[in-house]
């Protein structure tokens, strides 16, 4: 009798467990289903909006990588190719040459090349660039704004929550679809958005 009772009990518990199991399964399925409707088959990646960026230099220090995945990029299509480049030269630089005392970039990552009088081409060496944005500030203040910061996706680990985004004072970071992962300016930007 007692044995029978305990068997019944076990059975009752099994039924209860089964129904709860089904319920939990439905709950997980339901939540997932609900989310699927507002989901994207595309992955999202982090990107900095250069129009919101204030060049606070936090990109260079707050990335989880030892050398930030944020680099200065150059939209050549917008560049004025100025001899007196405010992104390349220290404000009040004594002369317009490649001497270290005239260069704004702390790592010397901008290469200056003579094209034709009076134009110079500026190229970023991303191996050296630390993403501090000093040149971006110079170019944005007095030039055409053709230098700006972008997350380079060959380097970015795409953390679930970007640690630069967390500390960005102007909230310039946002998630963008992985198939258009850059927010570019100039012709590059126009091509990208079309």
């Amino acid at each position: 009798m007692a044995e029978n009772d305990s068997k019944n009990k076990v059975n009752r518990r099994d039924v209860m467990r089964f129904s709860l199991n089904t319920f939990a399964g439905l709950a997980v399925g339901g939540v997932s289903g609900m989310l699927i409707t507002n989901s994207n088959s595309r992955e999202m990646v982090w990107q900095i909006d250069p129009n919101v960026c204030i060049q606070c230099e936090k990109c260079s220090t707050n990335c989880v990588l030892p050398q930030s995945a944020v680099k200065c990029v150059h939209s050549y299509s917008m560049c004025g190719y100025c001899d007196l480049c405010s992104g390349y030269l220290e404000p009040g630089a004594v002369s317009r040459d490649t001497g270290a005392e005239n260069q704004l970039c702390p790592t010397g990552a901008i290469k200056r090349k003579f094209i034709e009088d009076p134009y110079f081409q500026y190229t970023i060496d991303e191996e050296l660039c630390i993403g501090c944005g000093k040149c971006v500030k110079g170019c944005g203040s007095f030039g055409n704004g053709s230098l700006y910061l972008q997350v380079r996706h060959d380097l970015c680990l795409n953390c679930n929550e970007c640690s630069i985004a967390r500390s960005c004072p102007s909230q310039a970071y946002r998630r963008v679809p992985a198939d258009s992962p850059y927010i570019l300016r100039g012709d590059e930007g126009a091509k990208n958005s079309s």
Binding site: R17, L20, N21, G25, V28, G29, S32, L35, N38, S39, N40, S41, E43, N51, V52, C53, I54, V64, L65, P66, V73, H74, Y76, M78, C82, L84, S86, L89, P91, G92, E116, Y119, Q121, V136, K137, S141, F142, N144, G145, Y148, H153, D154, C156, L157, N158, C159, N160, E161, R166, P169, S170, Q171, R175, A178, D179, P181, L184, R185, E188, N192
Partner: protein, 439 residues
Amino acid sequence: MIKVKKLIMSLNILLFKPSFVLSQVVERFPKPDFQSDYTRPLLQTPEPRIKLYEYFDLFVLITALSLASYFALKLRSRTKMFLLMIFCLLYFGFFRKGCICPVGSVQNVSLALFDAAYTIPATVIAFFALPLVFTLFFGRTFCAAVCPLGAIQDVVIFKPAVVSPWIAQVLGMIPYLYLGLAVLFASTGAGFIICQYDPFVGFFRFGASFNMIALGISLLILGTVVARPYCRFLCPYGVILNWMSRLSKWHVTITPAECINCRLCEESCPFGAINMPVMEHPVNRGKSIRFLAVLFILLPVVVMGNGWVFSRLSVPLSGQHFTVSLAAKIQSENSGITTGTTEETDAFRASGKTVEELFREASVIRQKFRTGGWIFGGFLGLIICLKLINLTVIRRHDDYTADSGTCFSCARCFSYCPIEQVRLGNMDPDEASKIKKSR
């Protein structure tokens, strides 16, 4: 013409040091028409790495979960489980750098549920749901071998000490608190705290902030004597897995057949997840029933009271949200309480957004925190009551069993069982029955 331009330019640079500006697109200098055959280089835009692995990761996850379940329930092999765990540690941990993991995906799901503007990638939903579904069927095999956070702790278990059950019970409350906070912060858009305080991701990436590495190292050192401290006393995803695992259809059993109560497995579990048999009620039943009655009466009070006090916490909690803290900074600067400005407030003022708009947004977020605080507090109150009920009600059972909630299905205990040894052919069935008799 060019001379004049240069002059203006140098004047500009001399007069104005770059001050606080948003980087702007202003065509101050016309694009040059090159006389030589120079062509402008094009900006290179390397593809994100994630696109390569998007679906492969999912494939690896499903395979690993299936294998782990197969190893735990069918093969009952600790060695294979260990090898799989090492593979997953290397793949999800050191190769894929720990992102995205199911533990963190809890936050993406919360954010997606409450913020329509956030579109959640389908793979993230899969990463969240698949381990749960597998757990519903096979128990926490995800924890056993697939989770890189669990794996990195598992490899450093050397001399696991027994954590007194009552301490384990009390410490076991922390994950609920952590989960509640993480969901609250994620759903209000205040940030992903699980990712922020992930102790091991720094190892996977070979670099992180000093505090993160220090936290990770201390947890690993602790982990040599207290097995898997993060999994047992912190992991927020573990809470959900625990629930699912309690209801799992098939769960690992210590013995492949009938338990002979030989007690050999008693201390085999480094996680304290083996339930001893309860042959008799050692309890004063009346006292227990009285306690339960009081508990049931108090339950709504506890839930509501906790909800109330946590909704009142909306002020400090919402202060963690960028918008709210910005609004507070703007407010205190504008009214002269604080001196000077910060980068955040400067950026806000340059953005052209009005203070009113900011305050409106902040108060909406504050309201979310208030509502969220009610739910969070109520949830905690309910969990405390359920824990107490669970600790008071004693069910009779005759066997040594793996605790279906906290067992990670790691397959460590199997080899301690004489019946298992018989099954494997390492032991004579007679010897096993001798052991049974001696008990």
